[in-house]
Amino acid sequence: MTFQAIYTLTDLRILLRETAPSHEFDANQKAQVQRLLENLERQVGSLKQEILK
């Protein structure tokens, strides 16, 4: 799960590179960011559950 969260952030990092310097996202990119952040929240949630149990 640690890797999954880091990899999600890596995908986000790539999006930042592709849209530098303005980081203005088109509709597709916005949807992608939304999906990545939701995944990240879920992954962090799972980490909390697993590590802090």
């Binding site: 890797f3 990899y7 890596t10 530098a20």
Partner: protein
């Protein structure tokens, strides 16, 4: 933000459009970044090293398969990974060059080719580039004849840069290789700016070796690269060890002296491997890259007094321009002197131009999106107008 021990987290490519001429093709893919995180530990790729105990035989991760795939992709017969293109030059020079041997380079050759020749004891002889900064087969033939006259023998090896680092010009490697082979001179093609950027076919070029740079052009961490050889040359450069210890009587299996045993390990290797499918794919779309370069070049050339020193229209995205008659004129009276250009570019979210350079400088648009190319073009003309330079529409 710091990574540790005073090392700042580098965010150049996240915050800016980076047009540094040597960095563009080496930016990592997401997959490479992910593998680097997982395989950062020293001997990480060696978990499943089994007999015959050589890195390029490891199947998990699929290193052996990667070697085969790269050879096939370049239409060559054998490949080894190396810590940078320069180590490829070194391996080949060490194999063919002895003390006092003449070696053919060009007036646009990268310095590491010279160092490889020097280390092997060779003598450098350069094919001069034409006024258009191109190295031609005719010039190669003339130089070989001149060397023959001077040394009483032909060069033992020829280094030809497919795209040179100075102008980013595309040279007729196939034509030069054909001439060199008429004299039985093995040819090493320096593909540091082409392998991983545009399609490269070693057999079509007719060369004995192709060298590529992972960190320059294959979206891989530094130092990384590849050395590809034909079947004939493979036996020579990738020969296996024969040495025996006199006390222990030890032998070292199939380790290769020119590769110093095992080659590229850990994060550099898996980074290059992870990027490879993306790199293969991107070379098929080099026309898009040239189109982005054209957008930027047309904007630059619309600024009065700006000239393109590289061949034009461009055949590569790394380009050398002369702005002595434009941006440098502004520098003469600007309070920031020559640093105003870099400063103005950074304000527009652009980096990679040498600080203080306003006369002759290089940039590379490789890897930019169309939108980023348009931003670059607009930014250059805006900076020109803001500083009183004439811009044609």
């Amino acid at each position: 933000m710091r990574c540790g021990n005073g090392i700042e987290a580098r965010q150049v490519n996240e915050l800016f459009i980076n047009i540094d001429p040597i960095q563009a093709g080496g930016r990592l893919t997401a997959d490479a970044m992910k593998t680097v995180i997982a395989y950062g530990d020293g001997y990480s790729v060696c978990d499943n090293c089994r007999k015959p105990n050589r890195l390029d035989y490891i199947t998990k991760p699929p290193i052996a398969e990667f070697h085969r795939d790269v050879a096939k992709w370049l239409n060559m017969d054998a490949v080894r990974t190396v810590p940078g293109a320069r180590r490829g030059f070194q391996a080949v020079a060490q194999t063919y060059v002895n003390k006092g041997d003449p070696v053919l380079l060009t007036s646009l050759s990268h310095y590491t080719e010279f160092l490889a020749v020097e280390e092997a004891g060779g003598v450098a002889r350069e094919i001069p580039a034409s006024d258009q900064k191109l190295v031609t087969p005719d010039a190669a033939a003339a130089k070989i004849e001149a060397v023959k006259k001077e040394f009483g023998r032909v060069p033992v090896l020829a280094f030809i840069d497919q795209v040179d680092y100075q102008y980013g010009n595309l040279h007729d490697v196939a034509g030069i290789a054909k001439i060199a082979h008429q004299y039985d001179i093995p040819v090493i093609c320096n593909g540091a700016y082409t392998v991983g950027i545009l399609p490269v076919d070693g057999k079509a070029l007719g060369v004995d070796f192709v060298v590529g740079s992972g960190h320059k052009s294959m979206a891989a961490p530094a130092p990384s690269g590849i050395l590809a050889a034909t079947a004939e040359r493979e036996r020579e450069v990738f020969r296996t060890t024969a040495i025996v210890g006199d006390v222990t009587n030890r032998k070292f299996g199939i380790k290769e002296p020119e590769m110093m045993g095992c080659t590229l390990m850990g994060a550099t290797l898996v980074g290059m491997m992870a990027s490879f499918p993306h790199v293969k794919e991107r070379t098929k779309h080099f026309d898009r890259e040239l189109e982005n370069n054209r957008i930027v070049m047309e904007a630059l050339l619309s600024i009065e007094g700006t000239a393109c020193l590289s061949e034009y229209p461009r055949k590569h995205t790394m380009t050398r321009v002369d702005t002595t008659g434009s941006f440098d004129k502004v520098a003469e009276s600007h309070k920031k002197r020559g640093y105003y250009l870099q400063s103005a570019l950074e304000e527009k979210g652009i980096t990679g131009v040498i600080p203080g350079a306003t006369k002759v400088w290089k940039f590379n648009t490789y890897g930019t999106t169309r939108k980023q190319a348009e931003h670059l073009a607009k930014s250059f003309t805006e900076i020109a107008r803001e500083n009183g330079l004439a811009v044609s529409s």
